[in-house]
Assembly symmetry: C2
Homo-oligomer: 334 residues x 2
Amino acid sequence: MKKVTINDIAQKLGVTPSTVSRALADNKRVSQKTRDLVKKTAKEMGYQPNLMAASLRRGKSDLVGMIVPRINRHFFSNVISGVEEVLNPEGYRLLIMQSNESLQAEVEAVNSLMLNRVAGIITSLSVQTNNVDHFQSVAEANVPLIQFDRVSKELEGAKIINDNYSGAYQATKSLLKAGYKRVAHLAGSVLLKAYCERRRGYEDAVRDEFGKLDEDLIIKDAITRDAGYKAVKEILDKGADAVFCAGDYSAFGVYEGLNELGVKTACDFGVAGFGNEPFAEMVYPTLSTVEQQGKEMGRISARQMINAINGEAYNVEMVVPVKFIERVSSNKCP
Amino acid sequence: MKKVTINDIAQKLGVTPSTVSRALADNKRVSQKTRDLVKKTAKEMGYQPNLMAASLRRGKSDLVGMIVPRINRHFFSNVISGVEEVLNPEGYRLLIMQSNESLQAEVEAVNSLMLNRVAGIITSLSVQTNNVDHFQSVAEANVPLIQFDRVSKELEGAKIINDNYSGAYQATKSLLKAGYKRVAHLAGSVLLKAYCERRRGYEDAVRDEFGKLDEDLIIKDAITRDAGYKAVKEILDKGADAVFCAGDYSAFGVYEGLNELGVKTACDFGVAGFGNEPFAEMVYPTLSTVEQQGKEMGRISARQMINAINGEAYNVEMVVPVKFIERVSSNKCP
DNA sequence: TTGTATGCGTTATCAC
DNA sequence: GTGATAACGCATACAA
């Protein structure tokens, strides 16, 4: 069974392919009657437009590229869902690639997407990404670029970010309000603005409370579960009685460390995380953390993308609010 | 800056586009010298092949479609990673769509992928999928179809499934070995073979132990966290002292129910799950469950896809082994 | 070993 | 309102 093309339809109807093409595109310049007729027979004949041909002709495809560090991170898969929710109804499809937090993989992903002539790229940079030359080709080809969460100021285009500062501020504040006196911080990579903002939120919350800050209580680059686990002894030695972690995984690592040392979370030691991973409400005690609204970020990114593709303005920076979710871990039993 | 094409290269070199095309494809029929020269100048000129044009010409794209129920399920995102791992180096890209467990969305996803002329489709059916007519067009267009995990016997093509039976058997057996006497089962949808197999594994393990089976201890369609939570009272009333859940989420629901009633998990009541979700080792007590090797399934599916695209045989059914991971929840304190 | 010619299916620019 | 024609960029059957 071979594919039916607009030529087949034209032949059957005794008109030219151009008319068929126009009719299917609902072009006002072809009479209503012909339009209806063409559409009807197209359906009868089981016509399926060849998007590749159309894309080639137009010089633009209906594919939008997306590069994320890891698809299996709750936050990123939520963003993807949000993007699909907006993009699919508009006729765009998502070409998803993972950087696996590797710069090289990111470079390859960009190249590969450009080869496929995507209409635009939505991305969140890898941790490793310390230069963004590989996005040059994107700009040169006038392909719109939307960054979310982990963005680089060096790149043009829309940037959609979380209100990391305020989330961190609230989380830290909640520990202080519960009565903890020396709140430590497990920070993320200094290369990523998101983590710097979280650190800033933490610092300001502490300063607002005590008028000063003990830099010693900040552990750099401790974003993994293992790093959290290992940091516990260090911050305990430094006299910390609570910790705000820049991610939920390191927060869970802290749980494990505390457990091993027999320190009781949410009694002797307060913990707050960031990200609201699914496990946050399943661990014991439940983890107070910051919810990032990934789906909403995805929707916003996708809308910006549509605007950009349509040639409308999009060179904005948008901040999506976050929500601190207070559970048990940030409490302090009397 | 306009795109450079093979024509530009040809012109510059004083050869014809065909030669350039062949040279770039490493066709033996063009001299080594010309090949090298062409490749060199192509690189110099910053040539980027237009895959859309090539695809149109070939009648096949380098896109492989993938439809999964939910991208944010640990298992599925792992499969996706496995697929990418094999497909990307071969020059194929993944077009991912979600069915959100809805038949209609699945239908639309199939159509949309076919419009994009994907080289093949890898899929795991939605729970709702009770008929597979929408895959007719796939078969008719000779587009290879690889199913994994949730498969339909009514469809041609490769089927990659987990050894659900054996995983369930082992999980149930471990509860029995720990000393539990009345093991209940929270089953999944009867429409999905995977869940039927898990049930069968459970049943056989119980029969092998006691020579008989109490059907009353099987709760149908209890796969969600909430269903697990609600089922607790019922199975306790029926005298169960342990439960094998067809999924980790319902197992966690059971935890919550037991907690509320003051029944101690892994002491008074044993629990085993299926899926090895990330939270399984983070909950208290840690959940004994069955690991599904999603990444490996992805790799296998992708390899089958490559074979299929290359016209090699692929009409097989493959069973991927699972691994029961014994943690704390299936123990029985003395 | 290289060139010639043609077409993949569509859309856009003319003309009528 | 419709038709004729060309072009998007590439790959291949056939010639030479």
